[in-house]
Symmetry: C2
Subunit: 205 residues, 2 copies
C-alpha cells in the first residue's frame, strides 16, 4: 500500500514543486492539496493521508494552529512542517503541537523522501538547518511572560509611555512600571530599545 501524501500550502509553485519531486517516487501517492487551513480540515473529513506536508504560514490560520487541530482530531496522521524560514520559535511551536518533522523549502528530493520515510517509522525528522535553529533556541532564553506583561509589552512597542499605558489599562503608573521592570529582567535587557528588538525577534510583537 502506497503512502498517501497531502500538502497544505498556499504557494502554487511549492505545490507543483513537491508534486514534481514526488511524482515518480514509488511507494508514494499524492492524494491532493489544500491552499488553506479550512479546506484542509474539510478534505480530512473524506480522506485520511498518512503524511501531511504543512506550510507554516497559511492565509486563514497559521500552520502551527492547524497542526494542533489535525493531531487532535487525527492523531495517526504524521505532520511535517514546511517553511522558507528556519525560525527557531516556529519550529519549536510546530513540534510542541505534535508535528513529526520540519523541513525547509530548499530541501532536495532525497531529503524530502527521507523525511517522509522517517516520520512514517514513528521517528522525528528535522532538517539540518531546523535542528541547528532549535539548538540555538535552547541557547537563547525565551522568557515566559504573563498575560498582563504581554499586554504591557505590546503597548510599549506601540510607543506608549507608562502613563499612557496606565490610563489605557486602568491601573496605576507605578504598576505599569513594575511590569516594565519585570519585562526588562525576564528578557535580560537593560532598556526599552533592546526589549522591543528582542521581543520582535522572538515574534512576540
Amino acid at each position: 500500500m502506497d503512502t498517501k501524501i497531502f500538502i497544505v500550502d498556499d504557494h502554487y509553485m511549492i505545490i507543483e514543486g513537491i508534486r514534481s519531486l514526488l511524482q515518480n517516487q514509488s511507494g508514494i501517492e499524492w492524494i491532493g492539496h489544500a491552499m488553506n487551513a479550512t479546506s484542509c480540515m474539510a478534505f480530512l473529513e473524506q480522506h485520511e493521508p498518512d503524511v501531511i506536508l504543512m506550510d507554516i504560514s497559511l492565509p486563514d490560520r497559521t500552520g502551527i494552529d492547524l497542526c494542533l487541530d489535525v493531531k487532535t482530531k487525527y492523531p495517526s496522521i504524521h505532520v511535517i512542517g514546511l517553511s522558507t524560514f528556519n525560525q527557531h520559535s516556529f519550529i519549536q511551536k510546530m513540534l510542541d503541537n505534535g508535528a513529526s518533522g520540519y523541513i525547509l523549502k530548499n530541501a532536495t528530493h532525497e531529503e524530502l523522501v527521507f523525511a517522509i520515510k522517517t516520520v512514517l517509522n514513528g521517528k522525528k525528522y528535522l532538517s539540518l538547518e531546523a535542528e541547528l535553529a532549535v539548538q540555538q533556541n535552547e541557547n537563547s532564553i525565551i522568557p515566559v511572560i504573563t498575560r498582563r506583561e504581554k499586554e504591557v509589552l505590546l503597548l510599549i512597542a506601540e510607543g506608549m509611555t507608562n502613563n499612557e499605558i496606565a490610563l489605557k489599562l486602568f491601573i496605576s503608573t507605578t504598576t505599569v512600571d513594575t511590569h516594565r521592570k519585570n519585562l526588562l529582567n525576564k528578557f535580560e535587557v537593560k532598556n526599552t530599545a533592546s526589549l522591543v528588538r528582542v521581543a520582535t525577534k522572538n515574534q512576540l510583537i
Copy 2:
C-alpha cells in the same frame, strides 16, 4: 525563437515548481537555474537568457543587489522578482534596481506566463498583491536616513545609551542625541520603543 528563461532561487521546490509550470508551455525554453548570486553571474558569462526569475533572498547576496549587477552588465535581460512576501520595501527596491516585474510564489501558471510575456514586451508586471504593497508603501512614509543616522539607529536597537554610542563612534553625546532626535522626527515617532519597532518593520534593522 523561444523565450529563454533562467531561474535564480535557492529553493529546490520552487525551481521544480516553476519548471513544472513552464514545462509544456510553448514558446518558452528553460535554460537552467542557479541557486545563488555567484553562480548566476557565472552562468551569464556563457548564456544570455531573455528573462530571469529572481528570488529576493539568496544565500550569498540579496536578489536586490544581484538585480542591479545583472541589469548593469546585461541591460537587455528582463528581471522578474520572486518572493514569498509582498514586502513593500523589497518590491520597491527591486524595481528601483531595474526589475521589470514582481510576482509572489503563490502565482498561478497563468499569471507566471502572463508576467513573462508582459515584461518581454517592455512593460512592467506587478502581481496584484505586489501592486497593493507598493501602494501601501507610497502611503507609509519610508524616511530617508543618512549613513550616520543608520549607524546610530543600529546601536540604539542594540540597547546602547547615547553615552555608550558616543564612546563607540568617537563623537559627543550631544551629537548622538541630535541624531536620535532627527531619527525620531524622520520616522515620525515619539520615543525609542516605536522607533525600533517601525525600523524593524521596514527591515532597516
